[in-house]
Assembly symmetry: C2
Homo-oligomer: 476 residues x 2
């Protein structure tokens, strides 16, 4: 068997048929059957319910064994104590993948919970079933129409997410949707009694539909297998890891969440030493790094050119970048000479940061005339544009339209820019500002420009991406 031949999980993400054991007959509740139907799952669905004859217009069965056709995948949505029998039924039916949605196993901390979990694992192993969970949300795969939230986007992307937490997985999917970034596959795998992070990593390393892998991990059962799998992925694509449970009470809470032993901090620092995995502390940061990796394809150095409001805003932006491990050097004297032609007025900052004229028109003018100058500057590697919608335009009623026009000018201006670019969009709670920022973000991200919620988020992500491209060692 060649080194990278691993059992396929194709059927986990693209099952031909799904039985929902414990399908809800409550018409006002969005159960698994309705969710799959609404999301456009194309395979066969077999609701299993002791009493209902029909669920969502589909014939229901009292037991999976009553289904006459073969069933590839089953979702268990029944009380924990009934899951072993359901697993045996699935085995009898020849089911290949079981997703145990039900909670109340080892994470409860009870002896009974642990025993039940062991029983499930044993049945799975004896019958060649691959078990997902228990205590997890399962699979999201827009191409096959599988999802664990009816609100998830149907758009397909090129990112994979492997997460022990369903809520954190949902959060990342929504955070990414907000910046027009989409997933190919996501899996929430909870207590991991059978399928565990290394299984997914080994499979996704070879998946040509995946460019980047993100992980939310509380604990791993086999550290060396995990390390090997992460290394295998990193030969082909970047891996971003949110390792939860590294602080004292964080570890206690993780134990209650998925029954995971979170492992010593030193072991995780060792992982970062031995691999190029990129660490993140929150899902917001993961989303920022995913955007950076997707939209900043090259980064020659860590020297940032900042374009935006000068004055104190320029000073603070400079310091945020420097604190994040980036540099904000003065532009070359040639660049500064050319910038003076564009901004001859007294008081204009030109050294770096460079400040366009005030107002949206001033900014638009600078995008067209100034960005090509900065693109040729020899002292900087990436252009960070600060769009401070609030400070530029104030809370005016036509802010959305004005900002939108401004952003289209920016998109036109950067068509010929060779340096990588990032935009920091300040926001605020005022509804017109917020709408203007959302509209601007939508246009920019659709044009392939990474957009961050402020200079702090942008600097942090750019610094991580630089470290990844340059093989620097990250600190937890």
């Amino acid at each position: 068997m060649p080194a990278d031949h691993y059992p396929s999980l194709d059927g986990l993400f693209h099952p031909a048929s799904i039985a929902v054991i414990g399908a809800s007959s409550n018409p006002i509740e969005t159960g698994w059957v309705k969710r799959l139907l609404d999301f456009g799952y194309k395979g066969k669905i077999y609701p299993v319910n002791l009493k209902a004859k029909e669920i969502c217009g589909i014939k229901a069965y009292p037991n999976i064994c009553n289904v006459s056709d073969s069933v590839e995948y089953a979702i268990l949505n029944i009380p924990a104590e009934n899951t072993p029998q359901a697993m045996r039924d699935c085995a009898a039916k020849g089911v290949k993948f079981v997703h145990c949605y039900t909670a109340g196993f080892a994470e409860d901390g009870t002896e009974q919970g642990k025993q039940l979990e062991n029983e499930l694992a044993q049945i799975a192993q004896n019958n060649g079933i691959r078990l997902l969970g228990p205590n997890c949300m399962g699979v999201y795969c827009p191409a096959s129409g599988m999802t664990f939230s009816e609100d998830f986007p149907k758009e397909k992307g090129r990112i994979a997410l492997i997460s022990q937490s369903g809520a954190e997985a949902s959060r990342l999917v929504f955070l990414c949707q907000d910046v027009n970034l989409y997933f190919s596959k996501a899996v929430s795998y909870g207590n991991a009694v059978d399928l565990d992070a290394p299984d997914f990593l080994e499979y996704l390393a070879q998946d040509t539909e995946i460019d980047i892998i993100a992980l939310y991990i509380e604990g791993v059962k086999n550290a060396s297998r995990f390390m090997t799998a992460v290394k295998k992925c990193l030969e082909r694509k970047p891996v971003v890891i949110l390792k939860a449970g590294l602080t004292a009470n964080g570890a206690n809470v993780a134990l209650l969440h998925t029954g995971s032993r979170t492992g010593p901090r030193s072991a995780w620092q060792d992982l970062l030493k031995q691999t190029r995995a990129i660490p993140a502390q929150t899902m917001d940061e993961v989303a920022d790094i995913l955007q950076g990796l997707t939209r900043i394809k090259k980064l020659a150095g860590r020297r940032i050119a900042i374009v935006g409001r000068g004055g104190g805003i320029g000073v603070v932006a400079t310091e945020i970048c420097e604190r994040a491990g980036l540099k904000v050097p003065a532009f070359s004297s040639e660049t500064q000479k050319q910038l003076i032609q564009i901004r001859p007025d007294p008081g204009a900052m030109l050294r770096n940061p460079v400040e366009p004229k005030l107002g949206l028109e001033g900014a638009a003018d600078f995008y067209l005339k100034g960005l090509p100058v900065i693109d040729r500057d020899t002292e900087t590697d990436l252009i960070l544009i600060q769009m401070a919608v609030d400070v530029y335009g104030g809370h005016t009623p036509d802010l959305v339209q004005n900002v939108t026009e401004n952003v289209y000018t920016l998109c036109a201006a950067i068509d010929n820019i060779k340096k990588p670019l990032a935009v920091a969009l300040f926001t605020g709670g005022h509804i017109d500002t917020v709408q203007a920022v959302a509209a601007a973000g939508d246009i920019l991200t659709k044009a392939g420009i990474p957009v961050f919620s402020g200079v702090e988020a942008a600097a942090r992500a750019v610094s991580k991406i630089y470290g990844y491209y340059r093989h620097l060692e990250f600190q937890l």
Copy 2:
């Protein structure tokens, strides 16, 4: 002279009359005259313009000396080289305060700029004029109708802002407005050739309309006077300092901005050692701390009870709090016993964080039944509520209304809660989510509950406030 008797700056914030020297006659531009009129300045305005007979319907004068009545305050909006003569005219007219808006002085780095600046300072000193600037935006005081932005709120608050940067000042005013927090007085004072931070501090220490003072400082000319003035304020009210120019290039940019020498890092760490001043690194953080100081009046300890989505979101929230220097201990066994009554379902996290049932109804139910239990818990000091609008409700069209109802329930539930509370409102770029978050934030902050843009911002602010109340030494 008693120790706290300082020259009054009443006339700076409440002048009876203002001459605008270099008043704009361009009808489509918002000049200083139009800005003051629109903002509701109640005193007399005297536009000074060599050619115009009338500006914004007010009689204009070719020179301030042509005004027959007395003039208390003048704004200089003329080329830098003409400012000394205008200052002499102001002296002849008996003007008490001059705000030199014009830039192009020492911050230019030219010998001519420095000489001009010295000349202004000399004329001011010789004639008993208090000079604000040059190179600054001036005064914002809703009570008197003075402003440097037509978009600033007219609401009066109890915060003062002393800022060398006009743009950072504007940003803070808008950030605070977004959370229904308002200012009594703000001043942008630029190059500080006469009026400097200690002058404002000494005045505002005694101002009974001010509860909290925020500072944006690039450099100070007299460090020991500054230290004394900060100490004087801190005897009566908290002081929050954003010290800009502490990183290598940050210091270079600050020098170009206001001509300030930013001083060694050690001197600023020494200030924090000797005073209870609260340091911040960005205006977002300043706004968060101002909210905390205003809305969290007492804080017995740093032990946080977290209410909100459990699972991985609870784990990550715990770690964010711990990394910020807070603690997230388990609730007392009595509390946990009572919480089981409210949330008997398997898989529910009750240790701390505690997870309400899913959905907005589940959250509302927990606010009413669970918060009183946590209020009595002996192991925690502050309740942090995570409202993850995205994960709860998804991007549904009726999200604003549903979230609004939920928030009113929360407001009702906390009426009898004695522990301090904070809310972390996750946001996203989706417009319905963003609107729901904005609506929720508006209701909560109007009810006096501090609202933060996420757990990270909340934890950072709460940790700073705790440090202030407990006289802990802050690190830069």
